[in-house]
């Protein structure tokens, strides 16, 4: 149990997916201008990443490894993730329309979110067991949400600030992200 806790802390803070591993930066900058969109994206990522983590782990362990076709990992993972996202979208639309309305437009974007694919690959490269993969997928997703929401909060303030013209928008956004990354840097060596 303790091991899982340590793994979770390391995935959320120390190896934060956005600020320490640089995965999923396009939605990080793209959806962080408003708090609402940031929350929507964070929820969608948590939801899909956990499912994707489980399914790709099963695909790799029970399909690719026994058949010795690990070289098809990239291809099969992206297909699994793309179809999973499509499936989740259709399922939510039919059964839980309220959640679909909330996550709606963010779901298709997740297919090309490298955080999802990245975490699935990390799980395999680190040779995690099923439970470890589950914990790490969930914790990485929580770390993603945490960083995204923090960043959106700061960015909403920056919009009303007087920023020099060439620095506006993405440029100041990146510098701000750098500052948050320094804060997260303090967690390094904790685990």
């Amino acid at each position: 149990m303790g091991d899982y806790f340590v793994l979770a802390i390391s995935c959320i803070f120390v190896n934060n997916i956005l600020l320490a591993q640089f995965l999923g930066n396009c939605p990080f900058l793209g959806t962080s201008k408003k708090m609402e969109t940031a929350t929507g994206m964070a929820m969608a990522v948590i939801f899909v990443l956990v499912l994707a983590g489980i399914i790709t782990w099963i695909t790799d362990t029970y399909l690719l490894k026994p058949l010795n076709i690990e070289f098809l990992r990239t291809l099969s993972f992206i297909l699994v993730i793309a179809s999973l996202v499509q499936f989740v979208e259709m399922f939510l639309k039919k059964s839980i329309p309220a959640l679909y309305a909330g996550l709606g437009i963010f779901l298709p974007l997740i297919t090309t979110n490298c955080a999802v694919m990245g975490v699935c690959l990390i799980n395999i490269n680190e040779e995690y067991t099923f439970m470890q993969s589950l914990v790490s997928s969930f914790s990485y997703a929580v770390g993603f949400g945490l960083a995204l929401i923090l960043f959106a909060g700061i960015r909403e303030r920056i919009i009303i600030a007087r920023v020099p013209k060439p620095l506006q928008d993405t440029s100041i956004g990146l510098v701000t992200a750098g500052m948050i990354a320094i804060c997260f840097f303090a967690f390094k060596g904790m685990v």
């Binding site: 640089f22 900058l29 992206i78 297909l79 297919t111 979110n113 694919m117 990146l174 510098v175």
Partner: protein, 197 residues
């Protein structure tokens, strides 16, 4: 024809320079630019995938049904990424280890999919190659430049050669994660300054 090819080629080098103007595909830009070598290696790998997938998408553009085009693009891109992965593992193993999961992640690089969707699906194969090559070289140069700044300030070297005298204190911040964000942000600011003139 030749003129439009030149136009498609050069737009990737400045007017639509991928990481800066389009703000796409930032993850590898931030992650692998600790040194020039890594940056250029990643850039070349991405260029190869970009050119090949653009060519194939463009050749198949009349066969691929519009409704399932994204899925088809992804399969095409994933195939070329697998090719790059295996080639790099065979011939440039140290670089392969350094770039790690960012090689398979070329698959989800928004630039590659973005060019397939926005350009190659609507244009002829020759124009698509020019577009892919231009974007790829623009991407490689950006990665190389960012890598050079970070390696130079953070490590005091460029491509492994010492730049400064023995009294130089490495500015380690630059090669760590936060430095990547700040450095890219300031480069973007600089590009805006030059572009506004």
């Amino acid at each position: 024809m030749a003129q439009s090819m030149v136009k498609e080629f050069t737009k990737g080098l400045w007017a639509e320079l991928p990481p800066f103007r389009l703000v796409l595909g930032l993850c590898p830009v931030l992650a692998v630019t600790k040194s020039v070598e890594n940056g250029i290696g990643m850039g070349v790998a991405t260029t190869f995938v970009l050119v090949c997938s653009n060519l194939l998408v463009s050749l198949l553009r009349n066969i691929i049904p519009v409704k399932v085009r994204i899925a088809c693009f992804i399969v095409i891109i994933a195939t070329f990424v697998t090719v790059v992965e295996l080639v790099m593992q065979a011939y440039t193993y140290p670089l392969f280890l350094k770039l790690g999961i960012f090689i398979p992640l070329i698959v989800v690089n928004c630039i590659v999919l973005g060019r397939a969707e926005a350009f190659a699906f609507k244009n002829s194969p020759t124009l698509s190659i020019a577009d892919g090559l231009g974007m790829g070289i623009g991407f490689t140069l950006s990665l190389g430049a960012l890598g050079a700044i970070r390696e130079c300030l953070g490590n005091g070297t460029i491509l492994g050669n010492t730049v400064f005298g023995p009294g130089f204190q490495p500015f380690t911040f630059m090669v760590e994660a936060p430095g990547a964000f700040v450095c890219l942000g300031l480069m973007l600011c600089l590009m805006n300054l030059i572009g506004k003139k």
